[in-house]
Amino acid sequence: SQQGEEDPQALSIQEGENATMNCSYKTSINNLQWYRQNSGRGLVHLILIRSNEREKHSGRLRVTLDTSKKSSSLLITASRAADTASYFCATDTDTGRRALTFGSGTRLQVQP
């Protein structure tokens, strides 16, 4: 079963605008991670937020986590055409496999 569900499934914005993607999950987590995937490539780690953190920043990325609502959001500020990609949230639960459970992703299109 999918742990994370992203919203929206697709998002189209103009360069310079902000992009916000949301992720909801079902069970308690150790941390939540966001990944980016360019067309035809593997996923690349963007940012991690621990379960005891509420907000984290990295460059133009801002991630929030609300464990009471089991949700997270990824904000990309001042978007660029190069930000066009799919974005996935992934949750890390306390299991021995140390695997991440991924959502279905948000496809972001940034128009130049």
Partner: protein, 117 residues
């Protein structure tokens, strides 16, 4: 990720034939994973390995087997391919030589696109 190589990158095969996908890493990571990616499903875990000769099932393991004879290599085998196994397959590694830290990311290869006709 420069340290993870998947081969082949593309493969077309017929229903009922065996297929083996290879993942090679130079990171010396102990944990390795096979995921499949399908539209609307995100990535789903097929099998994972927590060391040489140590493997276990993920959520969608039916019809797949894996082997890990060396730290560097993790093989995924479809014993008798079916059309439902048409997908993009990703290998990933995590952590160091021991169990991955809770705040460590996954590192992915660039995937193998498999089409079963």
């Amino acid at each position: 990720d420069a340290g993870i190589t998947q081969s082949p990158r593309h493969k077309v095969t017929e229903t009922g034939t065996p297929v083996t996908l290879r993942c090679h890493q130079t990171e010396n990571h102990r944990y390795m994973y096979w995921y499949r990616q399908d539209p609307g499903h995100g990535l789903r875990l097929i099998h994972y390995s927590y060391g040489v000769k140590d493997t276990d099932k993920g959520e969608v393991s039916d019809g797949y087997s894996v082997s890990r004879s060396k730290t560097e290599d993790f093989l995924l085998t479809l014993e008798s391919a079916t059309s439902s196994q048409t997908s993009v397959y990703f290998c990933a590694t995590r952590g160091g030589q021991g169990a991955p830290a809770n705040d460590s990311p996954l590192h992915f290869g660039n995937g193998t696109r498999l089409t079963v006709t």
